[in-house]
């Protein structure tokens, strides 16, 4: 009982602070979306849901963020696995290396990517030399370029939760399965993957949510079909000063993400009920 009260004492101030800094502004945004000068109205929502531009941008936002987080997962999971097998000291060095993408600004990176992936970039030059013809693969300013930029940013956010999950797997399980004669693929699919699923789910969900808010990376590395919702919100917030519409877009996005998170949570609970397989 005392630990309960102690707990509240430690968490209390932070919660109150978060309430004022997070929830009150959020409530104001929701209020702004439902209120225009003459009173409460759903006009912003009606305009948005009837707007072709909004629906297409929403669809491309989902496409880009889900693809980006799945791609980052596919690239980041092997990295996390490799890190999990290292000694703690080496792992610390590798973790710093994983964070290196954060050390450069996106504007500089987009210039660098142009030199690497551009029409006359290094990759194309290498391929041209290897195949003795002029190769000009479109690697930039399209969906591929956006994926490169986004995975570059999101992989650390995949590696760390998945690593945490992998490290929490009881090492004796591996020893037991080796003793029983299981080969590495079987160990991976029967032990590592299922037990790391909580970390994978957390990582995928957080990267999807994060990438939905991006707009600089698609703006700098993407093509005209890679517009994101944030561009629209930015337009309504900073250019036309129509905060009613901007908040409506925000609320819609928030609603969708909350539903997705709740769905993922339900899915996780069902899986957990099935029990841990060993």
């Amino acid at each position: 009982m005392k630990s309960r009260i102690d707990g509240l004492l430690y968490v209390g101030p932070a919660t109150v602070f978060l309430f004022f800094v997070l929830f009150v502004p959020l409530a104001y945004v929701v209020y702004t979306s439902f209120w225009i000068g003459s009173g409460p109205s759903l006009s912003a929502y009606q305009r948005l849901l009837g707007s072709d531009l909004f629906l297409r941008t929403l669809w491309s936002t989902f496409q880009i963020s889900i693809t980006a987080s799945v791609a980052s997962l596919l690239l980041g999971y092997p990295i996390a696995m490799h890190l999990a097998k290292q000694t703690p000291r080496k792992r610390a060095i590798y973790m710093v290396l994983v964070l290196v993408p954060f050390w450069t600004s996106i504007l500089v990176k987009s210039y660098a990517f142009t030199i690497l992936l551009g029409r006359n970039g290094l990759v194309n030059q290498l391929l041209s030399a290897a195949f003795h013809t002029r190769v000009q693969l479109p690697l930039l300013f399209n969906r591929f370029g956006v994926m490169v930029g986004m995975t570059n940013y999101l992989i650390p956010f995949i590696v760390f939760p998945v690593l945490a999950s992998l490290l929490s797997i009881d090492q004796s399980l591996y020893r037991a399965s080796e003793i029983m004669g299981a080969k590495p693929p079987r160990i991976f699919f029967r032990i590592t993957l299922p037990l790391s699923l909580p970390g994978v789910a957390a990582a995928t969900l957080s990267t999807t949510v994060m990438s939905m808010g991006f707009f600089v990376i698609p703006a700098l590395l993407g093509g005209r079909k890679d517009a994101m919702m944030s561009n629209l919100v930015d337009f309504y917030t900073r250019e036309t000063m129509d905060w009613n519409m901007a908040s409506a877009i925000g609320v819609i996005l928030l609603g969708v993400v909350t539903l997705a998170a709740m769905g993922a949570d339900q899915f996780q609970r069902r899986e957990a009920k099935k029990g841990v397989m060993a």
Binding site: D52, L53, R56, T57, S60, L107, S110, Y111, T114, I115, G118, R119, N120, G121, L140, F141, A219, L220, G223, R224, K225, A227, N231, L232, F235, T237, R238, E239, T240, M241, D242, W243
Partner: protein, 356 residues
Amino acid sequence: MSADSKNVLPRRRFLQAAGTTLLSTAIAAPMVITSRKAAAASNLTVVSWGGNYHAGVQEALATPFEKEFGVHVTLVDTPDLAKVKAQVMTNNVQWDVFDAVGPMAMTGSKNGYWEPLDPALFNRSDLIAPMTKDAVPLYGFTGGICWDNSKFPDGKHPETFADYFDVKKFPGPRTLRNRASETLEIALLADGVAPDKLYPLDVERAFKALNRIKPYIANWVDQTPQTVTLVETGQVDFSYTYSTRVKAAQEANKPINFSFKQNLIGLEYLVVLKNSPNKANAMKFVQFALRPDRQAALMNALGNTPASRSALPMMKPEVRKWLSDPSNKMNVVSNDMWWADHYDDLTLRFKEWVLG
């Protein structure tokens, strides 16, 4: 031994607590102390752009103003209209003078964010473009075509907008800005509309012309630096950019060249926020910035066309060659007042068109 381990060393605990408190105070202090000190000392807050621009404004306007009027000027970076709205809405206006590009100034005007300017403060016949009731032009920036001179020497690159849209004579990927303003004007000029008959814009004709060129636009550029870097790295052959960017590229020894045969002149305005805390000083500053000698000094630093015609002969010749030719009949000065009425709808329509 076990009794000692129960005793949490009190002195160490105290030192840790004291150290953490001091550290957090040291980190937080600048946010509390400086703002109060700055608010007390500042007699005028001017919002402008950062980097070299900031240095130019400081040297040509802020420091001389301080010397002449004894008013301390604080330069704040990055004009953001949303912040202006928040300040005006909550009646907590902290900025005085605001450096706004055309569309921003007009949107602010529509929403009532600016104080009316007394026309008697300025020499109106000297201005290259008319002032509105609450905004006065500060300078014009020059938009035009650029190319890599080492790859496309004379005759191999477009120099007017009609040529820019001529993909047979000048094949190759090119760029346009990812916005309605400037792009619609370029499309109409390329389609053959006379520069002096451009406004009101024939929007349907503009979009038809844009449909023609759409497959050849490799990039719809959002961020201004990319308008030049894409040409530098060879990603595109030609681009629509601004004279100041090409000047900077040439100073960095890049073989990028700019066409002055046909330009779009955009305007940057000075405005004063409604209920600004230092209104009298703000008006003085705006008048000061429009003085021909101050205009010349500022434009020597920024490389743009001064709003004051009489400032032109006062400028350094090496900067003057980067200014648009005011007698060039092919040039168009952006009609920001027309855009004020059509910016929102056209931008939405343009965004939809780009996605399709």
